[in-house]
Amino acid sequence: MNLFRSEEHIERWLGGRAPGATITVNKLSELAHAWWSDRLPPEWQPHTRELNQSVLDRLGLTGEFWQLW
């Protein structure tokens, strides 16, 4: 799960391996804030897979690659 300068850099880094999924850094920041912002308060409860999937879905991260199970 890395940041790259461009698609060209991702392709070169992959070196022929099958690519995963690429999103913009803005989308990544949205995802991180939706995923992690509740982690420190004492009232935290474990996320169900359904809740985590709904976070991905809401951000448009859909399709087989983003299916958690």
Binding site: M1, F4, R5, I10, P19, L31, W36, L40
Partner: protein
């Protein structure tokens, strides 16, 4: 996850943020009025439920996501401290968890060029960068360190 393990997790995360590093089992035991054995066994249950990640060789904390207990390629300046994050996602996650702006320092894995990103009000200042996730979501926890 029962209430005792939730409390253990809360104490562990609170100490991580207070100390700026992963707490030891002894530190958590002192803070949570527990024995070291109770902390270690509780951490193992939290590990099994993906609430934190232990180092298999030492049973110490490797990840309290999004924070990393060991140096990584993702350094984050936030809330007056430097932190290590487990990956690019977690680097933004450190700012999210702390509810603060921050600065992420890493490098492009392809060319090695430095990537320094300021995060202000949840937005990165360099919008040209791309995030690549190699492992499909259903397999993230097969090997979370690799993921």
């Amino acid at each position: 996850m029962d209430d005792h393990d939730l409390d253990l997790r809360t104490v562990t995360y609170s100490l991580f943020v207070e100390l700026g590093r992963a707490p030891t089992a002894s530190e958590v035991a002192d803070s949570g009025d527990l024995t070291c054995a109770e902390v270690v066994s509780g951490w193992q249950r939290l590990h099994e439920q993906h609430a934190l990640v232990l180092d298999p060789a030492t049973a110490e904390i490797r990840m309290a996501n999004p924070f990393s207990a060991v140096p990584t390629a993702y350094r984050v300046r936030a809330d007056g401290r430097w932190w290590y994050a487990n990956c690019a996602w977690d680097a933004f996650g450190v700012c999210a968890a702390l509810h603060t702006d921050g600065r992420i320092e890493t490098s492009c894995p392809d060319c090695g060029e430095a990537l320094n990103i300021e995060v202000r009000e949840q937005r990165p200042d360099d919008e040209s960068l791309l995030f690549h996730c190699l492992v499909p979501a259903a397999r993230w926890w097969d090997d979370i360190v690799f993921t």
